[in-house]
Amino acid sequence: VYVSEDQVFSEPILKDFERETGITVHAIFDTEEAKSTGVMNRLIAEKGNPQADVYWANEPVRAEALKKQGITAAYVSASASGIPNEFRDAEGHWTGFSARGRVMLVNKSARLKTKPDSVLAYTDPRFRGRGVIANPLFGTTTAYIAALFTAWGDKKGNEFLDGLKRNDVKISTSNGETADMVASGEFDFGLADTDDAVSRIRQGKPVEMILPDQGNSGLGMLILPNAAMIIRSGPHPDNGRRLIDYLLSKETERKLAFADCAQIPLHPGVATPAELKSIDAIKAMNVDYHKVANKMQELQPVLNAWAGQ
């Protein structure tokens, strides 16, 4: 199994699967710096010689890219029943579960007159030099930038990227590091995933989580479910399918909701901790993951050039 979801959250689920089924799982996890891209590129490199049966992605956008390259195979699990269609590939190449949102993490002791409650705070001169964002070449930040380009169009998207530089926004290596930087007071705010934010809050760090762009005219918060997919011609397809069934189950969603990653269940009726808003109570960004995936591929040279400037 190749895994982009943080090891600290995904490994206990895989261990439970081993215990309950007797099937041994050998996993490779991404580092925080190469989040979602390290093992994904390994899957691409191994297309003609697949070593993995399952890819547990931490977002569905790169799953679309793998589908386009013919690396995944279709599999519609019975456990997926109840998961809304917008979080599933129409052809069954990937299925979403346990979602995260992109949130603003703000240091409570930051001396800010207004709170950064929109992604546009990054380009607002009032917050100059106070924000940090993870490297857009990696992880959910790439998907977020691609979603912004899809929603705004290229012109506004490019202006936003230029604005980040102009406003002296610092680039961290990962969302986890962004959360640490904000928690330690190095920066006042930063965009991270809900699991990064909740884990810092539960660690007692002086931070608060703000759902961005929730106003009437706001874009909404980007929701990124995990995505499970079968690798075409993997060595153990039956065991792979059993793992997918397990990952998509309500029980796994419940565990991930109560873990420190506090992920939002996509099945209806799954118990959640009190601080977790249900998917219906959030103003979500209206995205088509397929379009975002295409935009992400298109943006790769732009982001490479932007990151290298």
Binding site: H26, I28, E186
Partner: protein, 525 residues
């Protein structure tokens, strides 16, 4: 015949597992859409980012080499040439950071210099607000890497000073005080060794990616790793790695041409040398060194260990003991093979019986200096084929990578021991009818046992601390502890990460202590 076959086989092994992947990787990178095209290299030349990052890498490597040498060479003089009390245990403490994965050292220093670190607790906001931004950048990288690599020039200074023939310094002492002898005689003779130490630090710092990535200082290895991880284009990633390979190539060539570090090893005497009496300065200097040791080595480790608790260490051990044992097994296997290969290569280079001796020396040192990420990308490109799954899908590929990366080091460590064995002893064996392999195993190996043991221990510890190679090459579920710690850093609780780093520190300390205890017994045998 057996001699030629063995020597060619050793050189061939190095080429097969080290040079062939790099060559193949470079060859594939000059094709685009099936036709010869240098587009990736042209892009690299055009991109201002590439030049900027190259400048930053060279600046980091130069400052780190200067810092390490400025600290390491005087320490080497103190430990190798004076009667400083407790100099052997002190030297051992200074060597310790070199045996840890550099990012563990960076995490440890973060516990000191971070906004909520030890410095903040001791002095408050004002100091940490000033120091923390410096730490996250070039000064922090130079500090962390410079101190981690201090043992390299330190040890080479000790070895070079010990290699000076007794009679030269004795003669000089008849007419001049020690200060003059050291400045005019000893240090100029030892210069090649000390400079080689600086060069080694330069290439190690230039190839390091975990510390610059952690401290957010972009360098070329970070670019090549991110290009490999983020881009879908392997050829572009190779092109991004090529300038580093070229720099390493140039530096090793310069070293081979001008410094001739081999002269130092071939002069190695029986270890007897004059010692500078510090007299009334003995204890004040000792106190200063202990103070520096505490500030530069012990304080970050103490901060790291104090950041965790017994429960977390127990949890970390329960969750990661398999990775720990696995790493020990891989490292021991690789170290045994590396010592054997290093022994044969050292004999080849020292005795110069085949025309490939210079090529063998150059190749092994080139691979040693090459960033691990570059080597790993090459190995994946070469071995990732269904017919080669026995190697690609198993830890064998990781062991291959260790061998390619560290053969240059084991060769260098065994070589002085072989240089010290007179040719006449092998000649006597030959006259008695012993074949080459028999002479090598019955005469040379027993006499070179000191170098062989040192080589095994060094290779074992370096394989243990490696991060880049297991991170990229270990098969699913078969990672080592440093690689596991690196992947768990994503949202793992800080105290658990500290506990895992503490486990690495404890494992390294234990292995080093066992090695130090066994070393005299083995070499006596």
């Amino acid at each position: 015949v057996s001699q030629r076959i063995t020597l060619w086989a050793a050189f061939g092994t190095l080429c097969l597992i080290g040079i062939l992947p790099i060559g193949l990787m470079l060859a594939e990178s000059v094709f685009f859409n099936g036709a010869f095209d240098l587009i990736h290299y042209k892009r690299l030349l055009i991109e201002s980012a590439g030049w900027r990052l190259m400048g930053k890498t060279l600046l980091l490597a130069s400052l780190t080499a200067l810092f390490s040498t400025a600290v390491g060479a005087p320490l080497g003089v103190l430990f190798g040439k004076t009667d400083l009390p407790f100099r052997v245990p002190l030297a051992a403490f200074f060597i310790f950071p070199l045996l840890l994965p550099p990012y563990v050292t960076a995490v440890a220093w973060f516990r000191v210099f971070g906004r909520t670190g030890v410095l903040y607790k001791l002095i408050g906001d004002s100091a940490s607000e000033f120091v923390s931004p410096l730490f996250f950048g070039l000064p922090g990288c130079v500090w962390v890497l410079g101190l981690a690599f201090v043992p390299v020039p330190m040890l080479l200074t000790v070895v070079s000073l010990k290699a000076i023939p007794l009679r030269i310094e004795e003669a000089a002492r008849l007419f001049a005080p020690w200060s003059l002898v050291i400045n005019r005689i000893s240090l100029p003779i030892a210069r090649a060794g000390i400079l080689f130490g600086g060069i080694l630090v330069f290439v190690l710092a230039a190839g390091e990616f975990t510390v610059p990535a952690f401290l957010r200082y972009d360098t070329f290895p970070v670019l090549s790793f991110t290009r490999f991880a983020a881009s879908y284009d392997f050829s572009a990633a190779t092109a991004a790695a090529a300038p580093m390979a070229l720099i390493v190539f140039a530096i090793i060539a310069i070293e081979a041409r001008f410094l001739k570090g081999d002269q130092v090893s071939s002069r190695l005497n029986d270890g007897s040398s004059l010692s500078i009496p510090l007299r009334h300065l003995r204890w004040p200097v000792f106190a200063l060194i202990v103070l520096f040791l505490f500030a530069a080595v012990l304080s970050p480790i103490a901060a790291l260990v104090s950041d965790t608790n017994l429960r977390d260490v127990t949890t970390a051990f329960a969750q990661s003991s398999a990775s720990l044992y696995r790493g020990l097994f891989y490292s021991a296997t690789a170290a045994a093979l590396l010592t054997t290969l290093g022994f044969v290569l050292a004999w080849l280079v020292e005795r110069r019986t085949l025309p490939i001796c210079r090529a063998a020396e150059f190749t092994s040192l080139f691979l040693f200096a090459l960033p691990g990420t570059v080597l790993a990308i090459g190995l994946i490109q070469l071995w990732n084929r269904p017919a080669l799954n026995l190697i690609y899908a198993s830890p064998i590929l990781l062991v291959f990578a260790y061998i390619a990366q560290y053969a240059g080091l084991t060769m260098r460590l065994v070589r002085p021991s072989i240089a010290a064995i007179p040719n006449s002893m092998e000649e006597a064996g030959r006259m008695s009818g012993a074949g080459w392999i028999r002479r090598l195993s019955r005469i040379v190996a027993p006499l070179a046992i000191r170098g062989l043991t040192l080589s095994f221990v060094a290779a074992f510890l370096l394989c243990q601390r490696d991060v880049a190679l297991p991170l990229m090459l270990a098969p699913p579920g078969l990672e080592t502890l440093p690689a596991r710690t690196m992947t768990l850093m994503a949202n793992g609780s800080p105290s658990l990460i500290s506990a895992m780093c503490a486990l690495i520190v404890a494992g390294t300390a234990l292995t080093s202590a066992i090695s130090a205890a066994l070393f005299p017994a083995v070499t006596r045998t």
